[in-house]
C-alpha cells in the first residue's frame, strides 16, 4: 500500500483528464460545451505543470489559456451566434483531414516522448542541476540508482529563474562544467525584447484601427 508512487499516480490522473477532455472537445458538436471541455483540458495541463514543480508556468497556463478561451468563447461564439445553442456539424471530409493532421502530429510526438525517457535513463543526474536536492519525500527515493531520479514534487522558485533568463542570465546553467556550453547560454534578452516590441506594435496598431473615426460635422450626421 505504501509503495504507491504518488507523483506517477497524479501524473496519470491529470494526463488522463487532459486527454479525455481533449477527446470530448473533438466529439462534441455544441460550441460552448467544446469551449468548456477545452478549458478543462487546459486546466488539467496546468495541473501537470504544478505537479512538475513549475508553479509559475502552471499559473500562466491558467491565466493565458483559460482566460483566452473565455474571451474567445464570449466574443467569438456568443456574439456571432445566430441561434441560442450553436452546434457544428462536421462533414466526413473534415474528419479525414483532421485525422490526417492530428495523426501525423501524434506520430511525431509519441516517438520523441519515448526518446526523452531513454535519455534520462542513460544519464541520471545530468537532467537535474547539481544544486537541486532530490526530493526525499515519496518512496521513489528508495528506488535503485539506475532508475530515473526522484521527480521533484515540491514547488521550487521557477519564476526567479525564468525572469533572470529573460533578462539574460541563465542561473540554472551557471554551474555548467563545460566552458563551450556555458558560453552559449546567455539567456533570452534579445527574443524577449523582440517579442516586447512586437506586442507594442500590435497594441498601437489595434488602437489605431479601432480609433474613433471622426468625420466633419459628425454631430449632425446621425440626426
Amino acid at each position: 500500500m505504501d509503495a504507491i508512487n504518488w507523483h506517477s499516480m497524479f501524473f496519470l490522473l491529470f494526463a488522463g483528464l487532459a486527454c479525455s477532455f481533449a477527446l470530448a472537445v473533438v466529439c462534441t458538436s455544441n460550441v460552448v460545451r467544446m469551449a468548456f471541455f477545452l478549458i478543462l483540458s487546459l486546466a488539467a495541463t496546468a495541473g501537470l505543470f504544478f505537479l512538475a514543480g513549475a508553479d509559475f508556468v502552471g499559473a500562466m497556463q491558467l491565466v493565458l489559456y483559460v482566460g483566452g478561451t473565455l474571451v474567445l468563447l464570449v466574443f467569438g461564439v456568443m456574439l456571432t451566434a445566430q441561434s441560442p445553442f450553436v452546434s457544428i456539424r462536421t462533414s466526413g471530409g473534415d474528419w479525414v483531414l483532421a485525422a490526417m493532421v492530428g495523426g501525423s502530429l501524434l506520430a511525431i510526438l509519441v516517438p520523441s516522448a519515448l526518446v526523452i525517457g531513454e535519455r534520462a535513463n542513460q544519464a541520471p543526474g545530468q537532467a537535474v542541476a547539481p544544486t537541486i536536492k532530490s526530493a526525499s519525500a515519496g518512496p521513489a527515493a528508495e528506488t535503485p540508482s539506475d532508475a530515473l531520479p526522484a521527480p521533484p514534487v515540491e514547488s521550487r522558485p521557477t519564476a526567479t529563474r525564468i525572469g533572470q533568463a529573460l533578462l539574460g542570465v541563465r542561473v540554472d546553467k551557471l554551474t555548467e562544467q563545460d566552458e563551450t556550453v556555458r558560453n552559449g547560454l546567455s539567456g533570452y534578452l534579445l527574443p524577449f525584447e523582440i517579442a516586447s516590441i512586437h506586442l507594442l506594435v500590435v497594441l498601437v496598431g489595434a488602437a489605431f484601427l479601432a480609433r474613433a473615426k471622426r468625420r466633419a460635422k459628425s454631430k449632425f450626421s446621425d440626426a
Binding site: V32, F36, P84, F85, S155, V169
Partner: protein, 435 residues
C-alpha cells in the same frame, strides 16, 4: 500550520509522513480548514450583510431567529435553501447548467489554497502565490458566464454578457494594482510580502509613499468589481434583469454561487490586507514589544504559535473589515450602468494605476524616504531577512555541493548579482555573506 499538520500531528497519531493514510489525513484537514473559512465566513457575513443593510436603510434587520439580534438567520436561510426544489428550465443545457455553480465555487475555494493567514499558515506555500491567487480567482467568472449561457434565458444571458464586458475592464487595473506591492517587495510570495511590512503600521505598503496609498484605493475599487458587488453588480442587477445570471437557479445550486461570492469577497479583502495593510502584522507590533524586539517569525515553539494565533486574528479582522467596507459601499451607492463601469475601469482606474506605477518606480529608484525612514516607524524587520529567500536557498544549496563546484558557485553568484542589478537589500545580504 502546514508544517504542524504535515509532521507533528502525524507523529502524534503514530503515522509516517509518507504513508497513504497520513497523506490523505493531511490533505483532508487542510481542505476542511479552507472550506470552513468559506462556509463559516458566509454564515457570518450574510448575517452581517442583513444587519448592515438594515441599519443603513434605517431598519433593524433580522431580530427574531435565534435571539434578539437574529444570530441564526443565516442558518434558517440555509435550511430553507436545502429544502427548496431544484429546478432547471426545460430549454437549458443540462450539463453546463449543473456544473456552473461548482466551477464558481471551486475557483473561489482553489484560490484560498495559496492565501496565507499568518506566517507559514497557508495551504500551499507557493513562490508565486499572488499570481496563483489572481489566476484561479479569474476562473470564477467562467462559472458565471456558463451559468448565464446554459440557462437559456434572456435575462441570464444579458447578465453573462455584462459580466464578460466587466471582466475585461477590471482585470487590467486590478493586475496593475497587484504588481505595485510585488515590485516594492521584490517577491510574489504572499508570506514574504506580509512579513516585509512587519512592525508599526507605518511600514505598511499603503503608507509607503503617496502613490501606493492611491493604489490601495484603486485596488479596493477594482476588487469590488471583481467580486460582482454593488455598485458593480451588473451581472445580477435585480431591478433590471430579474436576478441576472442566476435567474433560473434555485435551492442549493443558487447558494453555491453565493458561497463563492462571499468567499471571493473575503479573499480579495485578505489579499488587499496582505498587499497593502501588512497582512497579519498589526498596526502596533504587540508581539515584537512583548518579546523584546523579536518578530513573530523568528520565534519558536509555543511563543511562535501564540504570536501566529494573534496574527491570524489580526488578519481575519482586517479581511472582515474589508468585507464590511464592501457592504457599506453596496448599500450606499447606486448601481453603475455598464458603460459607466467600463469607463470607470478603463478611463479612470487604468491610467491612474499606470501613473502610480511610474510614480512608485521613481520613488523606489530615487530612494525617496518612506515613513519608516523618517523615523516614524520602529521595529521594521531587516529587509534581507525576509525577502530574496532564493538567495538564501542558493547559499544553502551551495554549501551542499562539492568543494570545487562551490568555489565556482560563489564566483558566479557574485557575477549574477552585478549583472541583474538587484535591489539594495539583496546586496546587503550578499555583503554580509562575503564577510
Amino acid at each position: 500550520m502546514a508544517e504542524f499538520i504535515n509532521t507533528k500531528l502525524l507523529f502524534f497519531l503514530g503515522l509516517e509522513a509518507d504513508s497513504v493514510v497520513g497523506l490523505v489525513i493531511v490533505a483532508l484537514i487542510a481542505a476542511a480548514l479552507i472550506l470552513n473559512v468559506i462556509a463559516v465566513g458566509a454564515l457570518i457575513f450574510i448575517w452581517m450583510e442583513r444587519k448592515i443593510a438594515g441599519r443603513i436603510q434605517d431598519r433593524l434587520g433580522p431580530t427574531r431567529v435565534g435571539g434578539q439580534f437574529g444570530w441564526l438567520q443565516t442558518l434558517a436561510d440555509g435550511i430553507k435553501l436545502i429544502a427548496k426544489e431544484d429546478l432547471m428550465p426545460a430549454a437549458a443545457d443540462g450539463l453546463l447548467f449543473r456544473l456552473a455553480p461548482y466551477i464558481a465555487f471551486c475557483a473561489s475555494f482553489g484560490s484560498f489554497i495559496a492565501l496565507p493567514f499568518a506566517t507559514g499558515w497557508v495551504g500551499l506555500e507557493l513562490n508565486v502565490a499572488v499570481f496563483f491567487v489572481t489566476a484561479v480567482l479569474g476562473l470564477e467568472v467562467f462559472g458565471v458566464i456558463l451559468a448565464g449561457y446554459a440557462s437559456a434565458s434572456k435575462w441570464s444571458l444579458f447578465g453573462a454578457m455584462r459580466e464578460a464586458a466587466q471582466v475585461i475592464s477590471y482585470e487590467v487595473p486590478l493586475g496593475l494594482c497587484i504588481v505595485i506591492p510585488v515590485m516594492i517587495a521584490g517577491t510574489m510570495d504572499l508570506t514574504k510580502i506580509g512579513n516585509e511590512q512587519a512592525g508599526w503600521f507605518t511600514n505598511w505598503y499603503m503608507f509607503h509613499d503617496p502613490f501606493t496609498f492611491i493604489t490601495s484605493i484603486v485596488y479596493f475599487t477594482c476588487a469590488m468589481a471583481s467580486v460582482n458587488r454593488a455598485p458593480f453588480d451588473l451581472a445580477e442587477a435585480e431591478s433590471e434583469l430579474v436576478a441576472g445570471f442566476h435567474t433560473e437557479y434555485s435551492g442549493l445550486r443558487w447558494s453555491y454561487f453565493f458561497m463563492a461570492e462571499y468567499g471571493s469577497m473575503f479573499l480579495v479583502s485578505g489579499l488587499g490586507a496582505i498587499l497593502f495593510c501588512g497582512g497579519w502584522n498589526g498596526p502596533i507590533p504587540i508581539v515584537s514589544i512583548v518579546s523584546g524586539g523579536q518578530h513573530a517569525m523568528h520565534l519558536e515553539g509555543w511563543p511562535f504559535f501564540i504570536a501566529n494565533l494573534l496574527g491570524l486574528a489580526n488578519f481575519i479582522f482586517k479581511a472582515a473589515l474589508g468585507v464590511t467596507l464592501m457592504m457599506w459601499a453596496r448599500w450606499s451607492l447606486p448601481r453603475l450602468r455598464i458603460d459607466q463601469v467600463i469607463t470607470t475601469c478603463w478611463k479612470y482606474c487604468t491610467p491612474i494605476v499606470g501613473v502610480m506605477f511610474v510614480g512608485v518606480l521613481f520613488w523606489q529608484g530615487l530612494q525617496l524616504p518612506s515613513p519608516h525612514d523618517l523615523g516614524l516607524g520602529r521595529g521594521k524587520v531587516e529587509a534581507g531577512s525576509v525577502r530574496e529567500g532564493w538567495l538564501r536557498e542558493a547559499e544553502a544549496a551551495a554549501s551542499e555541493v562539492p568543494a570545487e563546484l562551490q568555489v565556482r558557485d560563489r564566483a558566479t553568484e557574485e557575477k549574477t548579482d552585478e549583472d541583474i542589478d538587484l535591489p539594495r537589500s539583496a546586496l546587503l545580504v550578499d555583503e554580509s555573506r562575503v564577510e
